[in-house]
Symmetry: C2
């Protein structure tokens, strides 16, 4: 007999069916034993009655997280017993036959318990089974799929970016060192240089994968290993072509989330955001003037936005434009990476942008320098060792089109989408200053 999942079991009402899953909870009511059976799609109530002797005996020995296979009758529940909170709430399974296919030790606490984050993280192999954790990572899997599907539909080609990087690692201080056959190499902070090289090959490319930041601060929005979704596109006119592509990607993704993840958002008490056809945009200087005028803080000469500024601008965007998103463009070129293109129409400022969403920056993007000599001068101007970049520079030596792109942190975006207050709740197995699965020994 083929196994049926909780999401489909009501289709077998009146018939015999086989279900498999975990004992989520057990309740004894007089002579009846009830269990909530949990499978990948949700819960189903199973009832054991004394007249089904063998099954009843096994039912009485069940503990939470036992893994079982049950055959029985699928019965409609009376109208007043329908449970809308579970996916199979219109039916229950009357157990006729059961086998225990996996046992469990006594659980440390019930799933769904409100836990301190350290307890949650200490017990991820168990706590991730909670429906809220499942919902978070189901949404995350839909977002990364939407990213790839959308870009494939726009003529982008996926490529596999290396993570072991030589001396051309960006920002040395923030990179982790790896012992590599007697050499010291680094973990990639982004696939940036490779995706630019790949524009020379496929024009439009994307990559998804882990990147690493050896940042020592431990905040609710930093992790040391995260998933970066990156794209880069050739033959653009300006950085606004990149912004347009991101805008369209977001609209596409939100549309998919509405269709596929409405339940997950509801469970987590999060609103699915609105993506305007054209996300509002302003230069950093305009944003700073608004902050001064509206919030009274003078940051007009700051080269970047503080977290508080980002929160204010998102509030402003929501109130003024009805948008959860806002692009801030034209940061000072000196504060952007060496490969960023300066806006000749606005000297000193970059043809680049940050995208803010619900109070934080979720993307940094830009048009890049595509002329070899300009790029070499930019490296030299920053006192960076041009020779270390010879591999990367070869792409530019042999002809590169105007191009630009962006990077997108999957975990941070997931956290903001779902209103989670700590990025670690949106990172499956977060690595931080003190933890790689378990606390690092002192």
């Amino acid at each position: 007999m083929e196994r049926i999942l909780s999401s489909k079991i009501s289709e077998s009402t009146g018939k015999t069916a086989k279900m498999c899953g975990w004992v989520h909870a057990r309740r004894d009511h007089g002579k009846l034993i009830f269990i909530d059976l949990r499978d990948k799609d949700g819960l189903t109530q199973v009832v054991f009655v004394p007249s089904e002797k063998e099954a009843y005996a096994v039912g009485g020995s069940l503990h939470p997280e036992y893994v079982v296979e049950i055959e029985g009758e699928v019965n409609a529940r009376p109208d007043n017993m329908i449970n809308d909170k579970i996916i199979s709430g219109k039916v229950e399974l009357l157990a006729k036959k059961i086998s225990i296919i996996g046992t469990a030790k006594e659980i440390p606490f019930e799933l769904g318990t409100n836990l301190q984050i350290d307890t949650y993280l200490d017990n991820l192999p168990f706590t991730l089974r909670d429906e809220k954790a499942q919902a978070i990572f189901r949404v995350q899997s839909v977002v990364i799929k939407a990213f790839r599907d959308f870009l494939n539909s726009q003529g982008f080609t996926e490529f596999q970016a290396p993570k072991l990087i030589g001396d051309d690692a960006e920002g040395g201080a923030n990179s982790f060192n790896v012992e590599y056959f007697g050499h010291t190499v680094h973990l990639a902070q982004s696939p940036q240089l490779y995706k630019q090289i790949m524009v020379g090959v496929f024009e439009r490319v994307f990559a998804t994968g882990n990147v690493y930041r050896a940042e020592k601060h431990s905040t609710s929005r930093h992790i040391n290993e995260y998933t970066s979704m990156d794209f880069e596109m050739g033959f653009i006119e300006t950085h606004e072509d990149v912004m347009k592509m991101e805008n369209d990607f977001l609209a596409y993704t939100i549309d998919i989330l509405k269709k596929e993840c409405a339940k997950e958002f509801e469970l987590l008490g999060a609103d699915i955001p609105i993506v305007p056809t054209e996300i509002p945009k302003m230069k950093l200087r305009e944003a700073q003037a608004i902050i001064k005028e509206k919030y009274g803080e003078d940051c007009l000469r700051a080269p970047d936005l503080d977290p508080q500024h980002e929160r204010w601008l998102c509030e402003y965007s929501r109130e003024t434009f009805g948008s959860d998103f806002i692009f801030i463009t034209h940061f000072p070129i000196t504060k952007r990476p060496f490969y960023t293109m300066e806006d000749s129409a606005d000297p000193g400022y970059a043809k680049g942008f940050d995208l803010l969403f619900r109070g934080v920056e979720i993307t940094t993007g830009a048009q890049r320098i595509h002329d070899y000599d300009t790029l070499v001068r930019s490296l030299e101007g920053r006192g960076m060792p041009v020779d270390n970049f010879s591999f990367y520079l070869e792409a530019f030596k042999y002809g590169m089109p105007p191009h630009g792109g962006l990077g997108f942190g999957l975990e941070r975006f997931t956290a903001k989408l779902l209103n989670l207050d700590n990025i670690k709740m949106a990172t499956l197995f977060p690595r931080d200053l003190n933890r790689i699965d378990v606390l690092l020994s002192k």
Copy 2:
């Protein structure tokens, strides 16, 4: 005017069109100047005539790899001038207007030149632009997409596996060390332990991403960083359920490759393999008996297959079953990882398999131990420190279903699919003993 690509340009015959791309080659014939313009989809011939004065002057200044934008008239070629070798071979573009949007230094050699592998690797930002390299990595992008699409269609959920691993790293000697805030941690050799944990969360999961092997041998089939495609599925009966899933994935993928990549296979002179409805399978001992009988080598007591054995078995499979693939099952349990399940019907042997394809092993898979106590005994029996695995073991403490899965090396599979004689040709930016983009300094 919107840009048109080589693949679509013949649809504009008789009209004005804009094209962008690289100067792939230039030929001067008398007073006419011809260039092959290369874009992401292929080549288009462009002709410059003296009567179009301005365009002609620029045309005369073009060198290989210059990036240009050209407007002109799309003209049908006479029948005897049609060039089937290029995608736009029925037409040519008569240049009316051209601008150079990126220049290039003198190229070191022409694209398409037969190069020694070191020269190829030294110049990847340039050599990857060759149509054969493009074809290889286009096929690769289709394979990894097919993997995800197929598994999504089978109810699998994607997850992001961490690559920074603590003391539970499998096979310590072969793992790279990372300096991590004063601790030594490791680069993952596979997402194995995490995907088993995730079976407890989503039942069926997959992950794609980089993995690392600190193996010192430099052969045509080893690289130190590669892309692993992994899945793991719960509620199986035996390892054969995993083999069936792989068989179906391969059939699906080959079907897509036939539809989308026939040109790439043709260009590379490779045959698209045949996937039987049921890939032939045999136990290691049967395979060894065949080797002895047919090829005269007695390896009956060997615990594993040598490369030569793998080649023979593939030859045998092709001759006997007409299959490019063959499963070899039941390796000695002592030679398989600690989490592998022993076959109680064939004690001493694993419920696991290798998949051989065109002479090499491309997958290792198995049913895993799902019982906590059995798993702890397996670790102890191998003298492995149980405490180091406490995080992983927590999944098993709290109930796990029978499950199994496999891992698949994207680059090795790509190489075999396309009959490339070195895996480095199927690895975009290969890392080996001596090279991370450039040769590692001594």
